[in-house]
């Protein structure tokens, strides 16, 4: 492979990774930690969405607008619609500048959109919201906004919706994290070793078993991705450690029964932990 072919292949793999994270739409959960921050990947995804011509909305709660926009060129910045909830999120200043209903109100307002343009909503951060809102309220809002493009009986053609949620894992217990995980179409868990970051990507595609892969990468100053050769583990069926393995015969019997009884259609609507996804 020539160097130019390698560069094109590298660019192609970068786009493949970002595309795979955004392709399914719905909720994309970015799980980071103190040691492996996820805001850079969030900004990389925001940039990718903006370059694809999508409407990009940022609900900025955790950092200032200037800090979030830093590193983007003017072309990208002009495409971002920034909702600033950093300066006065709780309306302590008692001015009329605060958005009525706060961040939750802004999120719910996005459920009422009707235009066909695909939209990406970046929540910076989902942890900020989860610490201050009831988990059920937040999950309901996330479900409504991330599934508005798949509402049955809706005659208007609403464009694809992707919700990128940055979640700081150490801040929440297993219950809220599990609830959000069950809503997510894609989960990215950041980690790594000394000097090298990795992303464990879990995708839940409709009518398919969840797949997971690990990709080693680094984020360049312009928020493009530099993927590392040779270290990625290819996509493979996801094995939930809490679910015991099923034999082939048992799978065949289950599939046959589902086809006969029509139960498979009901199972497709089930969420969480891989149930209803091909079992």
């Amino acid at each position: 492979m020539t160097p130019s072919e390698g560069a094109r292949a590298g660019t192609g793999r970068e786009l493949e990774m970002l595309d795979s994270l955004l392709a399914l739409g719905g909720l994309v959960l970015l799980r980071d930690s103190v040691e492996w921050e996820g805001r850079s990947l969030l900004k990389a995804l925001v940039k990718k969405s903006a370059l694809c011509g999508e409407q990009v909305h940022i609900l900025g709660c955790e950092v200032s607008e200037e800090e979030f926009r830093e590193g983007f060129d003017s072309d990208i910045n002009n495409r971002l619609v920034y909702h600033d909830f950093f300066r006065d999120p709780l309306n302590w200043s008692k001015t009329e500048e605060a958005f009525p209903g706060g961040p939750l109100g802004a999120l719910r307002a996005m459920c009422k959109r009707t235009d066909p343009v695909p939209v990406t909503i970046a929540l910076d951060s989902l942890s900020w919201l989860l610490l201050r809102l009831p988990c059920t309220t937040l999950c309901q809002a996330l479900h409504a906004v991330s599934h508005q493009d798949s509402c049955p009986g809706d005659s208007s053609s609403v464009g694809k919706v992707s919700v990128l949620g940055l979640l700081h894992e150490e801040l929440h217990g297993p219950g809220p994290v599990g609830a959000l995980s069950s809503l997510a179409q894609t989960e990215v868990t950041l980690g790594g070793t000394t000097g090298q970051a990795s992303a464990h990507i879990l995708c839940r595609r409709p009518r398919q078993r969840p797949t997971d892969q690990t990709q080693w990468f680094s984020i360049l100053p312009d928020f493009s991705l530099d993927l590392q050769e040779g270290l990625s583990v290819e996509s493979q069926p996801y094995s939930d450690p809490h679910i015991p393995p099923v034999s082939k015969n048992a799978k065949a019997r289950t599939r046959k029964c589902s086809l006969v009884s029509g139960q498979g259609r009901e199972n497709k609507s089930c969420r969480g932990w891989g149930w209803g996804q091909g079992f």
Binding site: V34, E35, E37, R39, S40, E62, S64, E66, E67, E70, G71, F86, R87, D88, P89, L90, W92, S125, S127, L131, R132, H168, E170, L171, T194, G195, Q196, S218, I219, L220, P221, F223, D226
Partner: protein, 323 residues
């Protein structure tokens, strides 16, 4: 140049435009830290004889300092101090004296010790807190004294520690308004001070006094918005890590602040217990750089010994006691 065994210094000597000119008393591990600091902060020439731990001498220009208020996104920085199984207050004393010497306007929310305690230590480090307070450079909230006033005396105006009198105090808005008022620029036509700085010692006390972790996080959030973003100043806060797995509130506070911080300094006791010549180790974690870098060493660990007027740092296992 031969390396002389002995104590080293952190962030002391660099050469202009180079990451290779380093304190001869430091080994390769320490030189990596100074190289990183020099690269990230564009430090300029200093004398190798200057001694100051965790920072430059008073003559150092603030913008060239490791903990300078300036950053590439034109905002200040939040530095989180954390101590586990040891006393990390030496870091508080360092930052207090450092910012006063750098001619910054300092608001110090001191909830743990009295004014006289910090003043005595400050004198050892070359600053007079009394004079700083008298000339208006230092705004000092003495929590121990104020708490008695709030609880046993009726207050005509809202007090920063008003929550001590309220059965269901939901937030720390009065404390935030105190900080904002203390650090707001004075329209006198001529700026006396360089940058505002908020110092808090320590936030864990607020949990013990009945505030929830989210309320404390909200307080810090508003302080960040005002001090770091609006006023381009710095913040330094201390949180204890009790190591108690059942203290969920403290864990939320510590982890929540960790995610907001640009720099985390964690003082830890030695796993092997007390040692006369090594008082603990300091872990330094850089976070949230203004620009992501491709390959970056994010954390460093040094051991230290606290002396009468300074602190010596050295690589693990390089204490004079064992060499």
């Amino acid at each position: 140049m031969a390396r002389r065994p002995g104590t080293g210094y952190l962030g002391v000597v660099v050469r202009r435009g180079s990451t290779r000119g380093l304190d001869w008393r430091l080994g390769p591990a320490e030189s990596g830290l100074l190289g990183h600091l020099a690269y990230s902060q564009r430090l300029t020439v200093r004398s190798r004889t200057e001694r100051n731990w965790l920072g430059p001498s008073p003559s150092w220009a603030p913008q060239a300092d490791l903990f300078s208020p300036r950053s590439s996104h034109s905002g200040g920085k939040l530095t989180l101090l954390c101590d586990a199984k040891t006393d990390g207050s030496f870091l508080v004393h360092h930052f207090l004296s450092f910012y006063l010497k750098a001619n910054c306007k300092v608001c110090f929310v001191a909830l743990i010790q009295s004014f006289s305690h910090y003043s005595i230590v400050g004198q050892k480090l070359g600053v007079s807190l009394t004079m700083a307070r008298e000339r208006g450079q230092l705004v000092f909230l003495e929590g121990l004294k104020s708490a008695v006033d709030v609880v046993f005396q009726a207050q005509k105006e809202p007090h920063p520690l008003q929550f001590l009198r309220e059965a269901n105090a939901g937030n720390l808005k009065p404390l935030f308004e105190f900080v904002r008022e203390a650090l707001k620029p004075i329209d006198s036509g001529e700026a006396r001070w360089t940058y505002p700085v908020l110092l808090v010692d320590d936030l864990s006390v607020l949990l013990s006094l009945g505030m929830g972790a989210v309320a404390v996080l909200d307080f810090i959030h508003y302080c960040r918005a005002t001090v770091c973003w609006e006023l381009k100043g710095n913040m330094v806060v201390l949180v204890h890590d009790s190591g108690d797995a059942e203290d969920e509130e403290n864990d939320i506070l510590l982890n929540g602040l960790s995610h907001q911080s640009h720099l985390i300094l964690r003082a830890e006791g030695l796993a092997t217990g007390f040692c006369r010549d090594v008082h603990g180790q300091l872990r330094i974690l850089w976070r949230r750089p203004s620009q992501p870098t491709v390959h970056r060493d994010q954390s460093f660990t040094y051991q230290y010994k606290i002396q009468d007027k300074s602190v010596s740092f050295f690589a693990k296992g390089m204490s004079p006691a064992v060499l």
